[in-house]
Amino acid sequence: MPINEAKAMLSASAQAEAEKARLAVQDTFLAPEAMRLNVRGMGVGVKWKNGEPTGEPALVVLVSQKLERSQLSRADLIPAKLGDMQTDVLAIGEVFAGNAEEAGVQTLTRRIRPAEGGYSVGHFRITAGTMATAVYDLLPGATVSPPAHGLGIPPRFYILSNNHVLANSNDASLGDPILQPGVFDGGTLPADLIARLSRFVPITFEPPVPRAQHRNLVDAAIAEGQFHDLDREIYWNGYVQGWQPRSKTLVGQRVKKTGRTTNMTTGRITVLGATIDVNFGGGRVARFIDQIVTTNISAPGDSGSLVLSERGNLALGLLFAGSSVATIVNHFEHVRSLLRIEVAEGVG
């Protein structure tokens, strides 16, 4: 039997009412530390009853899979109401499996020229990561504090990404080939060579150095390519307008990124000034200081993505690690000063 189409849509006023309710409860309901089992998100929609739309507004809780009440602990049940609004539950499956280096149907794994931010890239001995954007050397007169763009002719152009993407976690030699797409995504030498490793900030690892002595600030590297092969546009997020100083980055700020695995995602900064231990595989751990922690906006393969302010397209960080609930980001200010690179003409 066909459904009543009219009742599957919300009136503008019902939509506004539901949006208001969503804004009131969403931050609490989707707070990573308080997320109920299987909950992946929430939205606004129509309440369905017995397989029929009711036309009434509801907060739609998105879950990976629906479970019987008896299989859930009391704390994990979705309440019938959130705030003053009734809820509905919609199963969306696991959108991106946590441990997948594997390409999903919609990933930025293809060959593209000129290459742009968000696409697969990598050192010839690694799997694949993400190109943040294209950058150039700091120009004469550029300063970090107060931040200022220099003037002049950039002598070289580079792909920006992580050390563990472009420099194989310190194990590469300068001049090593960088492929677009990365090896895992079918990139081969010499057909897909796009750049050669130019500079990287070495990461201190345990072993051999005890992590209490680590002062890692960034996981960052650049590889030089040809101007006609590199575009600083970021797929779906457009052109970077400048960069945001560390002092202007605030807890609660909304951010976005485009990456090879999870495409365009948006999130929120939850912790600043974080010291955090990151596992690099093979038993190697590195402790990073002064990091940005955001809600989960990434999965393996997104390393190297440029994290932007949601409004204004200012570079504020370089994504390099994460877990199933959080993403870890270097301050762009540190990336810029340690690699001595510039991303765009503006300062936010």
Partner: protein
């Protein structure tokens, strides 16, 4: 308390906090407009499962501490 003073306070206690079981990170956060210290753990355990000296303190010199479970943090 300014951001800088809070960070100095956090940095002072960070080595000790990172030595506790399951603690993988420490930073500053915000809760209803109020500054808090955030301790990131790979796994939250009930207090009873931890020895008194293994527990994350409730506050650092008066600044409330929040424990947040982040699982295992991997380079991506």
């Amino acid at each position: 308390m300014t951001e800088e003073t809070l960070q100095v306070l956090i940095d002072k206690h960070t080595p000790r906090l990172l030595a506790l079981p399951n603690v993988v990170g420490v930073g500053r956060g915000e809760e209803q407009g109020r500054a808090v210290v955030v301790v990131l753990v790979s796994r939250k355990l009930p207090l009873a499962a931890l020895q008194p000296h293994e527990r994350v303190p409730k506050d650092l010199e008066g600044v409330p501490v929040r424990v947040r479970e982040v699982g295992s943090v991997q380079a991506q």
